[in-house]
């Protein structure tokens, strides 16, 4: 089960102010603590953080909210965090924060259903991600075939992406982007 978490509501609850911008470290830490409580209380497979009604996201707040949440995901009862409704300037701040920690996350751009990877992304990860986006679900072999790579190279990139929780690895050795509508 996936659940959409509107970040604007979390921001207001965490700060008790009518803020619409995710700025400053104290605000980011308060929002993250609120998110962690919410995720612990609800049994979800995926947490979709909805940025669509958020104004500005600065680098420090992106670090507190996204990077530190993604870094702590193993302690939470969710398989992954996906960002939704992310604008270009917000994506840049989030990506900057994730790169500093060597982390990656799947994000859906504002106004589209197009997924993209943000953060510390290897070129091979990006290549297999694009194939998976087109074929939806596949084992490593057809992905390698499309890229003209040895299967091991494609599998390694897909496994790395799955370990980063940007894609889903299934027991039947297939991989997919997963549901994030």
């Amino acid at each position: 089960m996936s659940g959409v978490i509107p970040l604007d509501a979390v921001l207001r609850e965490a700060t008790r102010q009518a803020y619409r911008d995710l700025v400053t470290r104290p605000t980011g830490a308060a929002v993250r603590h609120r998110l962690v409580s919410t995720l612990r209380d609800h049994d979800r497979t995926e947490a979709l953080l909805d940025f669509s009604r958020i104004g500005l996201v600065d680098f420090s707040c992106a670090d507190e909210v996204v990077a530190k949440l993604v870094a702590a995901i193993h302690e939470l009862p969710v398989t992954r965090v996906v960002l939704r409704g992310v604008r270009e300037d917000q994506a840049e701040a989030i990506e900057h924060a994730l790169i500093r920690h060597g982390l990656a996350v799947l994000a859906i751009e504002d106004g589209s259903c197009r997924p993209r990877l943000l953060g510390a992304i290897d070129d091979d990860w990006r290549a297999v991600f694009e194939i998976l986006e087109a074929v939806l679900r596949a084992t490593a072999a057809p992905v390698a075939d499309r890229l003209g790579w040895p299967v091991d190279r494609a599998r390694r990139a897909l496994d790395d992406l799955a370990r980063s929780r940007c894609i889903v690895a299934h027991p039947d050795a297939t991989y997919e982007l997963g549901a994030f509508a």
Partner: protein
């Protein structure tokens, strides 16, 4: 009484002038800052003057006298919000304009006090609508560039809250750099009267630099190497992200702290990347400049 005569134009070097005029810190006697001949002032000058006033107040020094400029200039200073704050730190002499800070003037951000995180929220909120429209319409910046401007403003203001140990000031304005660039530029100036880069980084960095540790190496560590006083790898992101944004849009950043100034300078500017041996001034002064888009034809 020591008199500091301000020139006709108060620009990014006004703080250097103030510092060099005050031979010893704290000043030995009362100060008179005379702005009667001043006709124009920029955000770095406004926030620098307030920093001087704040630093003297925090030291318990006598309130300096401040002679206001001519009526039309003073009226503009009132609209920018400068005089509202200056009244706290200076004994103002001259005709005080009745007009106060005006939301509808040409400032992107009037002179605003920054003391805590909620002030940063207010600053960012204040530039989100009208100022964003100005950046789009006058500088022809795309939405993502406008967003980056707000992110940078937020980060520079947060440095005051996180590192200065006291409050500070922020202001932003649009200028036309006709000769230097032939384009409009959005300028942010932020200044605080706090402990400065050297003292902020000293506990964690001074040993690494040994005898070389001074204002210049501290600024170099903070701005060029994105070193933070915190061990958390996520720290130091603010200046690092701001640098990345400025590099992408040919922007400029200059930071003065103590006796040095370090700058990351785009091709359109000729400021030296490092200036040492400046007269000492309290706290830290940051100036960011983001050029507008070049319009063909």
């Amino acid at each position: 009484m020591q008199v500091i005569l301000l020139p006709k134009l108060l620009d990014g070097h006004t703080v250097d002038l103030l510092a060099s005029e005050i031979a010893t810190w704290p000043p030995e006697g009362p100060l008179l800052i005379d702005a009667h001949a001043t006709e124009w002032a920029s955000p770095p000058a406004f926030v620098g003057l307030l920093t001087l006033g704040q630093a003297l107040e925090e030291l318990g020094a006598p309130k300096p006298r401040f002679t206001l400029p001519a009526a039309d200039t003073a009226s503009y200073w009132a609209r920018t919000g400068f005089l509202l704050h200056a009244e706290r730190f200076f004994e103002l002499h001259g005709k005080l304009p009745r007009r106060r800070a005006d939301e509808q003037n040409e400032m992107l951000l009037p002179v605003t006090e920054i003391r805590e995180a909620k002030d940063v929220h207010e600053v960012v909120g204040a530039i989100s609508d009208r100022a964003a429209a100005m950046l789009r319409n006058e500088l022809h910046l795309e939405a993502s560039v406008v967003g980056g401007f707000g992110q940078s403003l937020s980060e520079i203001c947060q440095n005051i809250v996180e590192h200065a140990g006291t409050g500070g000031w922020a202001a932003a304005h649009i200028y036309h750099y006709r000769r230097r660039l032939g384009r409009k530029v959005a300028m942010i100036a932020v200044s605080d009267a706090g402990i400065g880069f050297r003292r902020s980084l000293e506990p964690t960095q001074a040993k690494r630099y040994g005898d070389r540790w001074d204002d210049a190496t501290a600024l170099e560590a903070g701005l060029i190497h994105s070193i933070s006083r915190f061990r958390d790898p996520g720290r130091g992101q603010g200046l690092a992200g701001t640098k990345r944004y400025l590099a992408r849009w040919q922007g400029k950043i200059a930071i003065r702290s103590g006796t040095a100034r370090v700058a990351i300078v785009p091709a359109w500017d000729d400021q030296p990347p490092m200036t040492t041996g400046l007269a000492w001034f309290p706290g830290t002064q940051v100036t960011l400049e983001v050029p507008g888009k070049e319009i063909e034809g």
